[in-house]
């Protein structure tokens, strides 16, 4: 069966994910070392140890994302996160930075290393380098590849691949996008937050809801339309004669019906985005995907996805897996 890797922003979400059938849960520490450094989220070292005990007692794994890029001079914060993860008994760490990968390989050789989507390793040469130089055992592929491209990559590498199947979309080559830095001075790559809530303001203006980020209006939506979060790449912009969602519509990914093709392409694990979401979201999405991977493994038809309401824009896309770019 394909492994289902599920998000947890809090210990309660971790328990909800495990109880809903997650094979593995990924989470992070409450600081800049992980790419979901949101207010009120994440784990202390003690929370992590407790979460690992809970998951292991029920046969689930815990993977810890330490997937931002350390600032020069501040490396001890990232090194401590690795030490805390190993002490908590986690099953793997998910890393993006070359220096941190080298440090982990040298000082924590027994700790399994996965390559974060933030490293944007999207071709066999890059992946094989990470595997041979740093002993990376699994690569989370960026959300810019088609299913055929994923199959072609898998034919030329020896490590496992993991792909996103549900949740918010980061549509650029991850770890390389500076849109959020331009508007707010903070980025997912360095601070663990894209379009951070500290810079977000909503205002009801007449019949519209205006969503602003760092003072820039990113969306203006009618009272009856779904409300989007002002993530920069999903904003409505004017470029030349055209006004619209230049980069990506405010939709989120749902690749449920591509699971058999992803399995055929040699993908080992399916990842659900949403560490910033509630335990209600985690439980519902995990339960639905567990049923889907079980159906796929048994050769049964996949259940219809009922998850649209949880999606941003309340609309879903299959993203780049089956897409032609604008």
């Amino acid at each position: 069966m394909m492994e289902l890797v599920c998000p947890a922003g809090t210990p309660a979400a971790l328990r909800a994910a495990v109880e809903a059938g997650a094979h593995a849960v990924y989470c992070g520490f409450a600081d800049e070392t992980n790419a979901r450094n949101f207010p009120g989220l994440n784990f202390t070292p003690e929370d992590m140890a407790e979460g690992v005990r809970f998951a292991h007692a029920r046969g689930a794994k815990v993977l810890v994302a330490i997937n931002t890029f350390p600032r020069a001079g501040a490396e001890p914060l990232w090194h401590r996160a690795l030490a805390h993860a190993e002490a908590a008994g986690v099953d793997a760490v998910i890393l993006a930075d070359l220096g941190l990968l080298a440090h982990a390989a040298e000082h924590h050789p027994g700790l399994r290393r996965h390559l974060s989507v933030q490293a944007a390793a999207a071709n066999p040469d890059a992946i094989n380098l990470y595997a041979s130089a740093f002993g990376v055992r699994r690569v989370v592929l960026p959300r810019v590849l088609t299913v055929e491209e994923i199959a072609a990559i898998n034919r030329e590498i020896d490590v496992e691949t993991e792909v996103f199947v549900f949740g918010g979309l980061c549509v650029m080559a991850e770890g390389r996008c500076s849109l959020s830095s331009y508007a707010t001075g903070k980025s997912p790559n360095m601070n663990g937050v894209c379009s951070p809530a500290s810079h977000v303001a909503y205002a009801e203006e007449g019949n519209d809801l205006a969503a602003r980020l760092g003072g820039f209006t990113i969306h203006r939506t009618a009272r009856t339309a779904p409300a989007p979060y002002p993530t920069l790449c999903k904003g409505c912009f004017t470029s030349g004669p055209q006004t619209g969602h230049i980069f990506e519509d405010p939709v989120s990914l749902d690749a449920t019906h591509l699971i058999p093709r992803l399995a055929g392409a040699g993908v080992r694990a399916l990842k659900i985005e949403g560490r910033q979401r509630s335990r209600a979201y985690v439980a519902q999405v995990v339960r639905a995907f567990r049923a889907a991977v079980e159906a796929q493994a048994a050769g049964r038809p996949l259940p219809e996805s009922q998850l649209a309401r949880l999606a941003e824009g309340q609309k879903a896309t299959t993203g780049a897996y089956a897409k032609t770019w604008r």
């Binding site: 922003g9 809090t10 210990p11 309660a12 979400a13 909800a16 809903a20 949101f38 207010p39 009120g40 989220l41 951070p196 809530a197 500290s198 977000v200 303001a201 909503y202 205002a203 009801e204 809801l209 009272r223 009856t224 779904p226 409300a227 989007p228 979060y229 910033q276 979401r277 509630s278 335990r279 209600a280 979201y281 439980a283 519902q284 339960r287 009922q306 309401r309 949880l310 999606a311 941003e312 824009g313 309340q314």
Partner: protein
Amino acid sequence: MTAPLPRLPHALRLAALPLPLRPLSLLLGALTRRMAQAHPEMTRRMGDHADRHFLIDPVDLPWLLLLHPQGQTMTAHRRSRPPACDARIAGPLSAFLAMMHGAEDGDALFFSRDLAVEGDTAAVLALRNAIDDAELDLAGELAALSGPLAGPLRQALLRAERASGLTLHRQDDFA
């Protein structure tokens, strides 16, 4: 999670309008203190955001509620006299209760416009995440506050839940 959220009948709102605010504020204050003390990690999770003032606006009730997590206080206010706040969250009472009890996802309620947020968005996120992690149970907390009346109160709350469609206890099964 696909059924529309229930709204309290307008008649109930009218009937509640003349109720005095002081006893209501006392009850809300006691409840808030109890929850904060039983779940100290909730305030810790919020960090500096715990010192913000949140205006909770249950649009189908006659009052506004002002929450200050750090001070462990919640007070009721007339709509005609809204207090100063750092952030305002508005929506039907059922949305707040469903979110608090893990029956609905806060972001989904926001995307669907059942909930609206104004002011300090980061503080609202911190509050939402801290409450989600605390796995609160309003029925349990109210029962704990009511001493020997806990048993009958639980029964009454179960009946109220069935009649109103409001989520008054923690959803241990998310199905």
